[in-house]
Each structure stands twice: as structure tokens, then as C-alpha cells.
């Protein structure tokens, strides 16, 4: 995939990346944010964390409550307006900024700049930094859960539905780790069933979808399931733990950082 705009030329200079940490990652999965920070630093970035950030407004927006999401969108744009690179370990939050913000904060002066500057982590590594080999070791059998927003809104991969030349930015990066064995579930990009408030309002279908994902990864032999969205993984992990399945569920940032053993 082509490198983004003029950023390719600036690889020699150390880009300053503002870390955009999804609200639930900040509060419940800080290790994912830590891994993201370390990964970006390893690839030559200077990472800062604007402390005023809270939430991009996705839960409200996806529930149809645009007027509740709009102030959060404006606050987000205020917070990140001055940065040229904003990176988040979340496909859905980045999709929110890129696709929903024009509807929520159409007149905000920083709208276009922030949209153009915000990237999901793997997208940033692959497209902006041009990373094609991730140094490190992760000697496990790993199943990739292709979260839907990353897949179909950000086009991190070609997807199973469309007839386009195949590509998969996340899989490409993961595949370069030493010792990793990537396996595919039978349905390569079926939804896990989280869907935001759907997880609660349509609990029965949500859990059936999630368990089916876990079954498929188990059938493929995955010891670890990973993905770009902690929300999907939180749902899968909740199901897996309740059923005492042994599978480890890690965010892709944690996997890309590698494990010594």
C-alpha cells in the first residue's frame, strides 16, 4: 500500500505522535496503551499523551444520540488540533473520527486537519511509517480477529466480500514476527457480536456470535486471539473467561511488541 502523502520523506526526522487512547482502554486496559506507546517509540516516534482527552463519543453516536456525541467530538478536535499525527489502538474510534465527525462537528476549524492526521495503529505503522518488518518474537499460534470498523470502514484489509486485489495490513505486520504461526478462522472476517450497546440490548445474539468466533479460532488451533479493537476483544475475552477457555486474548499492539519467551 502506498505511503501517506509527504510523510514518507520525513522518516529520518522523529515524528511526534499524539496518543489517542480509547476511553475503555485508558480505564480498563492500560497495558494496551503502554504497548502502543512503546511500539511507536521503537519505530522512531516521539509519543505524547494529551491529558485532556476522554472519549471520542462513539458509544453515544452509534446509539443514535448525535447531540450527546457532538460536544465530545468538538472536545476531541480541540485536544488534537495541534498535532500532525494522532494514533489510536482502535479501528472503531479512528473510524468515528474519520467518518462520523463531519456530521457531528461540521464547522469545527480543525475538523479536516484532525481527520487527515488520525490513524489506527497498524495503519500508521504500515502506511505512514512504511513498516514492513516488525522486529521481535512471538512464538505462538495466533488467530487474527478482523474487527469490522477496521476492516470495512478503514479498509485495513481487502475483506471477504469485495472482489479487489487482496491485502491485509495487520496480518502483514504480524506475519513478520519471529516464530509466529498465524491461523485463520473459517469465516475470516465475521463480526464478533460486540457492536457497542448491541452487546447489552441484543445480548442473546451478541453472545452467540462471540462464542461462534471463539469456536472457530479454537478449531483453527489459535492459542492467542488478537485484533485492533479492544472492544471486540473485551467481549470475546469476557465470553472466553466465563467458559474457562484457555485462549489468551491480546491487543495487536501487545503482540507486535513481542514476547521474550
Amino acid at each position: 500500500m502506498p505511503l501517506e502523502g509527504g510523510e514518507a520523506h520525513n522518516r529520518a526526522a522523529m515524528p511526534t505522535v499524539a496518543l489517542f487512547v480509547p476511553c475503555y482502554v485508558d480505564q480498563l486496559y492500560p497495558q494496551v496503551a503502554v504497548a502502543t506507546l512503546r511500539l511507536l517509540e521503537r519505530h522512531g516516534c516521539r509519543v505524547v499523551f494529551p491529558p485532556d482527552q476522554t472519549c471520542c463519543g462513539q458509544p453515544m453516536s452509534n446509539a443514535g444520540q448525535a447531540s450527546d456525541a457532538a460536544p465530545l467530538a468538538r472536545a476531541f478536535l480541540d485536544t488534537f488540533a495541534s498535532y500532525d499525527h494522532v494514533v489510536a489502538p482502535s479501528g472503531s474510534c479512528v473510524a468515528m473520527v474519520k467518518h462520523q465527525y463531519p456530521g457531528l462537528a461540521p464547522d469545527h476549524p480543525a475538523l479536516q486537519k484532525v481527520r487527515a492526521s488520525t490513524f489506527e495503529l497498524c495503519e500508521y505503522l504500515h502506511d505512514v511509517l512504511g513498516v514492513r518488518k516488525v522486529e521481535g518474537r512471538f512464538a505462538r499460534t495466533v488467530g487474527l480477529h478482523r474487527s469490522c470498523h477496521g476492516q470495512r470502514e478503514l479498509r485495513l484489509a481487502s475483506g471477504s466480500e469485495r472482489q479487489v486485489p487482496p491485502f491485509d495490513k495487520v496480518k502483514t505486520l504480524l506475519g513478520t514476527l519471529d516464530g509466529i504461526r498465524l491461523v485463520e478462522p473459517a469465516r475470516t472476517d465475521e463480526c464478533c457480536g460486540f457492536g457497542g450497546t448491541f452487546a447489552a440490548t441484543e445480548e442473546a445474539v451478541s453472545c452467540l456470535m462471540g462464542k461462534d468466533r471463539l469456536d472457530e479460532h479454537a478449531k483453527a488451533g489459535a492459542e492467542v486471539i488478537t485484533g485492533v479493537d479492544m472492544s471486540c476483544l473485551m467481549h470475546l475475552d469476557g465470553l472466553a473467561k466465563r467458559e474457562r477457555r484457555g485462549v489468551r486474548i491480546l491487543h495487536v499492539a501487545e503482540v507486535l511488541l513481542g514476547e521474550a519467551a
Binding site: 487512547v21 480505564q27 452509534n62 444520540q65 469490522c148 470495512r152 460486540f194 447489552a200 465470553l239
Partner: protein, 475 residues
């Protein structure tokens, strides 16, 4: 589009009686039988996979979708003119064209055509429009025997159920159940469930009906403006059998089925069957132009809310639908909840966009019966952005007061908390403390629907922002 009367199921596994309880309740009932839900899911996934294989055979597949989208956008912007051209050309070839403002008018027109000719035996090929209008019960109440001749439709007709899928009407029924049904209705052997044997029995039974029919009614897949032809696609040949024998052919169509030129069919027909069933083309793609010698052809054009939908952005794009059902086959929620969980004539993703146009109240749960995964939009042959339309519907429903108050208030409160960094941090600290300190059983109950089948996340000792600050940015 007026909601159909939802019939109570007369057979096990059929629809529940009573008013529609909303998708979540209906879906929970469907998934309660996990094995059956998995069976239904696998059956429809198989159709999705066949679609993928068929699409992969056409290097121009994505370009065809782009053209189809453009053709429909162009047609919808010029619908009046094209319908007039269709009427002129159809009439020039001897067809009679009728216009119906709503379902009642449609039913009346059809009935009057039949009554005036003393028709009491009608055969019908698949038409979701006539389902939408509730035609069958209307005619039956007036002494017309209506036989649905598509095998899947005949099966659900015997069971007094509506179709559960617009292309695969009986996908929710197992062959053993069909065997039992045919034993009762057609006298097939008890316990027989071989599809070939059962289909052969249906062939014989329906052939009698075709031969005895006094009129044949079909839907319309495409109506061609520049020729005046109506195009009907089937695999079984039931539209051809039903119209070739009796003298009267009635073709019923929604206004949006019009295409400008015959040559446009070169685009749509390359997409339709591949999207619907994974076949390159349906067995019969018949272009009816005028009546057969000595016969009559009547075309009924139906509005029933379509002209009003044309005014609504973005939902007007849903009028591009060519009724292929691909969105249903790909939808992980539809596969695991079934067509009856939607309470609409047309279920699934497209049904969840069209349903609320009939009146948001009855169908308010449908746009929320989705994770917005976007798979539907990627398989739609005419590239309707279904997932974006579902999200747009959510906004309309919330603003209209149709969303559950509790949920709306909870999210509003959350938004208020999140609007301030210190409130956000405080709320987070309280939540992590609760997770840490409260007994697991209590937390699970407080977590409500989340906790029923899922564990809650283990609380980390501090948030990322606290860790970042404590370590001066070097966590």
C-alpha cells in the same frame, strides 16, 4: 408500505402468535434453540459463500456494482419519466397498465380483474410486493383460491406462515418438517424427507394447479422503460408455467423496479443471481412484452409509500434494492435470528431500513438489531450503504423519542461525565474500585445483560493516564 398481517404459525418452528415483541425478544427466542440457530446460520452462510465464489468469477464484479448503483440513482431521479415511457411502450404492445397508490388499491385492482372474468383459481409466482400488500388473504376472503407456486412459498403457504427470507422462503424449515407437512397435505410417505422425492411430489401437485388455473399472477424483477417489457426471473419455471397456460397474466410491481433501457439488464442480471444464490443466472429470465395471442397482460404499478420515500435522504437509496437477499445471507445477526425476528415483510438489513419507513414505532428495534459491521453494504449489488442508513435511522428514532428512555439517559449521563477530564477520571476510578471491591456475583448482576454470559474485565490498579503521569511519560 403498510405492514402485513403477521400470521400465527400453525406448525412447530413457525412464527409466534401475537403482536411483534421487537427484535431482541424474538431473536432471544430463536437463539434459545442453539442447535437450530447454528443450523440456520450455517445454511445461510453456505449461500453467502456461493455468492463469493460466483462474484470471484467476474473480474469486472466491483465495476458492475458501481454501474448498477449509478443506473439506479439515475433511474430514481427520473422515475416519473421512465414510468410514463414504460406505460406507453407496454400499452403499445397490448398490455394494460394500472396505477395503485397503496396496498388496498392494489388488492382491489387485482381482485376486480379476477372477479370480472370469473376467476376463482389463481396461481402466483414469487412477489414480495404482494406479500407487502397482503394480497393472498384479501383474495381468499373473496373466494379466490390462491396457490403460491414457488416451492418454498408453497411450503410456507401450507404452514400458514409468511416467507422468512425474500429469496429462500422456507430456509428456516428442516426437510423432515417439510416431509411431515407434505405427508399431511400431499399424501407423501410418512417419514420421507428426501428433497428429490418431496420436490417430485410438489411438481405433480402444482402441475395440476397450473393446468387448472384461470389466471397467473407474477411479480416483476425489472420493468423496462424503453421496451415496455416486464422481466421475471425464476429457477423453477413457475412464472412461465403460471402465465403460459391461463389467458390472464397479472404482473405486480413496486414503482422502483423500473430500469431505463433493456441494455441495463446486462448489468443487473449479471449481478442478481450471483448475489442471491451464487448462480450465474436464474434458469428462466423471461421478458414478457404484451399479452400472448388471445390473452391479456395487466401490469399493476404500486406506490404504497415509495414516492414518499423518494423524498427522504438518505433512505431513498434503499429504493435501489433489487431484492437479491445477499444482505440477509451475509448478516451475522439475521443468520442467528431468522426472518421472523424482524416483524416485517422484508427482513434483514434492507428490511431494517425499509421497515421503519412504514411508521417508526412498530419497527423501532430494527435499526438497532445490528452491530453495524458493514458486511451487507459490501455484498449489496447496487451498493446501498445499508450500515450507514441503519445508523441514520438510529438518530431519527432517538430524536423522535422511539428509543428506550433508560438507555438514552444512561448514555446522556455518560456523555456528561466524559465531557470533563476530571469527571471522567473520577468515574473511572470509582468503576475500577467497584470491580475490585464488590463481590463478583453482585458485580455480575449490576452489569446486567453484560454479565449473563460474560465475565467483566479484571480491573487494573491504575488507568493509563494515571500511570503516564506517575511515570512522567515513561510508563
Amino acid at each position: 408500505m403498510s405492514p402485513p398481517t403477521v400470521a400465527a404459525g400453525a406448525h412447530p418452528g413457525g412464527q409466534q402468535a401475537g403482536p411483534f415483541p421487537g427484535h431482541p425478544v424474538a431473536a432471544a427466542r430463536f437463539t434459545a434453540d442453539v442447535d437450530r440457530a447454528h443450523w440456520h446460520d450455517q445454511a445461510l452462510w453456505f449461500v453467502r459463500v456461493k455468492r463469493d465464489r460466483a462474484a470471484a468469477q467476474l473480474p469486472a464484479w466491483e465495476r458492475l456494482r458501481e454501474l448498477a448503483e449509478g443506473l439506479k440513482a439515475h433511474a430514481l431521479a427520473n422515475l416519473a419519466g421512465y414510468l410514463e415511457a414504460f406505460e406507453k411502450n407496454a400499452t403499445a404492445h397490448g398490455a394494460v397498465v394500472h396505477w395503485a397508490r397503496d396496498a388496498q388499491e392494489h388488492n382491489r385492482i387485482v381482485h376486480e380483474l379476477l372477479a370480472a372474468r370469473g376467476v376463482t383459481r389463481l396461481v402466483k409466482s414469487k412477489s414480495m410486493l404482494t406479500e407487502e400488500c397482503g394480497l393472498n388473504p384479501y383474495l381468499e376472503a373473496r373466494g379466490v383460491e390462491v396457490v403460491d407456486t414457488d416451492l418454498g412459498e408453497r411450503i410456507v403457504q401450507f404452514r400458514h406462515e409468511p416467507p422468512s427470507h425474500i429469496v429462500l422462503p422456507a430456509i428456516h424449515i428442516k426437510k423432515e418438517e417439510i416431509g411431515e407437512l407434505f405427508h399431511q397435505e400431499l399424501g407423501t410417505e410418512k417419514g420421507a424427507s428426501d428433497p428429490k422425492y418431496l420436490t417430485e411430489a410438489a411438481r405433480g401437485h402444482l402441475r395440476e394447479k397450473f393446468l387448472a388455473a384461470q389466471a397467473g399472477l407474477t411479480g416483476v424483477n425489472f420493468a423496462v422503460a424503453d421496451t415496455g417489457a416486464v422481466v421475471v426471473c425464476t429457477n423453477e419455471g413457475n412464472a412461465d408455467m403460471g402465465t403460459a397456460l391461463p389467458p390472464l397474466h397479472i404482473a405486480c410491481m413496486g414503482l422502483e423496479k423500473i430500469v431505463p433501457r433493456a441494455e441495463d439488464l446486462g448489468v443487473f442480471l449479471r449481478l442478481l443471481a450471483r448475489s442471491a444464490t451464487g448462480q450465474a443466472v436464474t434458469t428462466y429470465t423471461t421478458h414478457f412484452l404484451g399479452p400472448k395471442p388471445g390473452g391479456e397482460l395487466h401490469v399493476v404499478l404500486v406506490d404504497n409509500g415509495r414516492s414518499a420515500l423518494l423524498a427522504r435522504d438518505p433512505f431513498r437509496r434503499a429504493l435501489a434494492c433489487i431484492r437479491c437477499g445477499a444482505c440477509m445471507n451475509t448478516c451475522p445477526v439475521f443468520r442467528r435470528s431468522g426472518g421472523y425476528s424482524y416483524g416485517t415483510t422484508v427482513p434483514g438489513p434492507i428490511g431494517s431500513v425499509l421497515g421503519p419507513t412504514q411508521g417508526p414505532g412498530a419497527h423501532a428495534s430494527l435499526p438497532f438489531a445490528s452491530t453495524l459491521c458493514g458486511s451487507c453494504a459490501d455484498v449489496c449489488p447496487v451498493r446501498i450503504d445499508l450500515h450507514h442508513q441503519l445508523l441514520a435511522w438510529r438518530r431519527v428514532l432517538v430524536e423522535g423519542g422511539y428509543a428506550p428512555t433508560g438507555k438514552t439517559l444512561a448514555l446522556r449521563l455518560t456523555a456528561w461525565v466524559f465531557a470533563s477530564p476530571w469527571r471522567f477520571a473520577l468515574a473511572g476510578r470509582l468503576m475500577r474500585a467497584a470491580l475490585r471491591l464488590l463481590p463478583a456475583g453482585l458485580m455480575r448482576r449490576l452489569a446486567g445483560a453484560w454479565g449473563r454470559q460474560r465475565d467483566l474485565p479484571a480491573p487494573p490498579p491504575e488507568s493509563f493516564r494515571d500511570l503516564y503521569r506517575r511515570t512522567n511519560g515513561r510508563p
